[in-house]
Symmetry: C2
DNA sequence: CTGTTAGCGCATTCAT
DNA sequence: ATGAATGCGCTAACAG
């Protein structure tokens, strides 16, 4: 029924071993026989049996990329970049770049279609790796499950993207799993995720400077003259959320607006997920740590959360003149909430996001945000996973975050600065 | 070094066969031994060898989902939905839904973390399928390559999403490849992609009613009083582009505004990718087929293309009162271009998109568009791929597209209706 | 350079 | 209900 190596060997009048050698290309073979084999392969339309190959070689060509939310461009961009570095066999930097601008449907590619019948249809496809992305949905369980599945497949490499959940038990479980993967020869790379405690198992960890970016963003707002800044944070248990929040509070404190306590590193996020428990906080009340918590609302990294949280923020403190969102998507929801309350952006309330996703520049007004080089980071992670690039010293690299000032932030209204209004 | 079935068997004092049976659960095993085996598995921290298992069983638990652009939420939403149906072992409809709103970072999940140490770490993970998404970048070659890679892995199922490239050679190559996959036992499902010519190889094809949706959208514009409607189309060679364009032209013709020729089905898209070749077309010139082409500009399915194409459209015909974009992302670019020219939306120019991606409702003004039930379609494709749902009659189902009228479309300015202005 | 020989780890017959 | 054998298709030593 299905064509095997032996069939090809017979057709080409060589041994199975020889066929294997030409297919894998990692062994000297006479040019003559080589061509004969290749022809037989094409004629028989032979396709290598992956499982058999992996079993014998004890390695597979599978490379897994774990993401929290595949519908979020934040992850899509990183995953796509990584995949482009992995899919191509080292060469063809061109095609990799093509996917950069999140552009789909390459228009000019139809001309090369005919050649595809040759490149793609036959079973040989050089050292092609199968780069696949797995959607964890942000669930620790699914993350572990996927890791096990990948381990089962003897994956060649695994790339973990996005912030981690700060649960000790889960951290430990992940760490243990990654160690086992590494022991089995799988290359593990972290992208946009803080380094592990005992990071020996990991080839490299690329961490975003969330804290620094957040700090610069809030400093920008402070320089504009804002003092009552609301913060719509992400899920409390994620590292990304904590780091961005810390950066924000660092800046607030430096400006003498934050609470002295709780500003340092390592403290768990304090705010509850849904507010409303502290009743009757008088507007324009005390500053400091109290305000800090009162002006922080946690939610998910999606639009709806931004909308809901902003409404809550506006309710708690109608005098806010600026709102910093956990990311651009959340910022969009915040904008919707602000407008719905009849306020203008940025005249009445400034809004800022994080990530600088493609749509941010198209918001009206364009969103002030912090740019994360997602594509570059993803591509680098891909190369690291393939061993095409040497890891940074210590296996850890911090990736810069650049402040992008645009139309959604402006100085606060003058009359708002007057106490009591 | 690595723990094998035999090790587990020895530890549990049974034969390897028995261990295999408990692990696969598809064979009667005494409860006592069963537990003994399971304990041994946990104690030894055994992880099944996927390749070996697949080789022996001649099937794997890999399910591939092909997308054109992973950074595009259009695909991300479908892929995520499909993956949620595939990943979970039939049950737990709840978790599947959780990913719906494109929400990442499930906030409430930390409570269940500890249980993960049990569910996820051990080698057994019931009939878990490994749902993976592969990013083709819209390139036919990569599409074929991925299909080959998946074939090599003896994938259990493959889901192809998004419009196809209308190149006969490529169509044939894909068809042939899918037939081979089906012959090898792989279940093939098409999602948001038109049925194949000889569709026997395919379990089911879920096609979006792009044509109908586009027609209704343009009818809406016509009802509003627009007559000069620019169309920013996608890549000329894709089915999605053609179908949407045809729907648009159908509506135009029905209103007596389209050219008699070229309106029917099956004609290749006429407009060149970059215009400007026909010089000095006098404004307010002849209607009909001529205008139809003049008012159509092709580009990619991304924001930049929408921006550039709209600028071109505005140059060719400053009197356009409405612009229909290939999709929402393109519409965003169109909006940017329109504003840059000092025009207001919708007062001066109405804008419409397609797909109704999450961000569309947040555009200012909110985007009139055509809603495609991406999540539902993806989920259904996932179930079809898993054999959890019976295919529609004939294996083909058309998925409705619903017009969403929002703020970005309005009647044209009265003075614009005056000829010569 | 090429052919021969052994397994890789597991799922299945077939027995019992 | 369980154990013993057989082979899935391929790669990797070894010869030669």
């Amino acid at each position: 029924m299905t064509v095997t190596l032996a069939d090809v060997a017979a057709r080409a009048r060589v041994s199975a071993a020889t066929v294997s050698r030409v297919l894998n290309g990692n062994y000297p073979v006479a040019e003559a026989t080589r061509e004969r084999v290749l022809r037989a392969v094409d004629e028989l339309d032979y396709v290598l049996n992956g499982p058999a190959s992996s079993l014998a070689a004890a390695t597979s060509d599978l490379v897994g990329i774990l993401v929290n939310d595949i519908a979020d461009p934040f992850f899509g961009i990183m995953a796509g970049a990584a995949q482009s570095e992995i899919g191509e066999s080292g060469a063809e930097d061109d095609t990799g770049r093509a996917g950069a601008g999140s552009g789909s449907g390459r228009a000019g590619s139809s001309g090369r279609v005919t050649s595809a019948g040759r490149t793609g249809s036959s079973g040989r496809a050089g050292g092609e790796k199968l780069a696949v992305v797995c959607n964890t949905g942000g669930s620790p369980e699914r993350e572990l499950t996927y890791l096990t599945l990948l381990q089962r497949q003897r994956a060649a490499a695994v790339i973990l993207t996005g912030g981690a959940v700060e649960d000790p038990a889960h951290q430990a479980a992940i760490s243990a799993k990654l160690t086992k993967l590494a022991d089995a020869g799988t290359r593990v790379v972290l992208c946009g995720r803080p380094p592990l405690a005992g990071g020996e198992a990991v080839v490299a960890a690329l961490a975003f400077d969330n804290r620094g970016g957040a700090r610069r963003l809030t400093e920008h707002l402070l320089a504009l003259g804002h003092t009552r800044i609301g913060y719509v944070a992400g899920p409390a248990e994620r590292t990304t959320t904590r780091h961005r929040l810390e950066g924000h509070r660092d800046a607030m404190q430096a400006a003498g607006l934050g609470g002295g306590a709780g500003g340092g590193a390592g403290d768990g996020p304090g705010g509850g997920l849904d507010g409303g428990e502290r009743a009757g906080a008088e507007p324009g009340g005390a500053r400091g740590a109290y305000d800090e918590e009162r002006l922080t609302v946690h939610g998910l990294y999606d639009r709806r959360s931004g909308y809901v949280a902003t409404l809550e923020l506006l309710r708690r403190e109608p005098e806010v003149t600026a709102i910093v969102a956990a990311n651009d998507t959340v910022a969009l929801g915040a904008c919707a909430a602000i407008r719905e309350r009849g306020l203008r952006i940025p005249e009445d309330v400034s809004v800022a996001g994080f990530d600088d996703l493609p749509f941010s520049v198209d918001a009206v007004p364009a969103l002030t945000t912090v740019r994360l080089p997602l594509f570059e980071a993803g591509a680098r992670a891909g190369r690291l996973a393939m061993g095409k690039e040497t890891p940074p010293p210590g296996g850890i690299a911090t990736i810069g975050a650049e402040l992008m000032v645009r139309g959604s932030t402006a100085p606060p209204r003058v009359d708002t600065a007057v106490p009591g209004r």
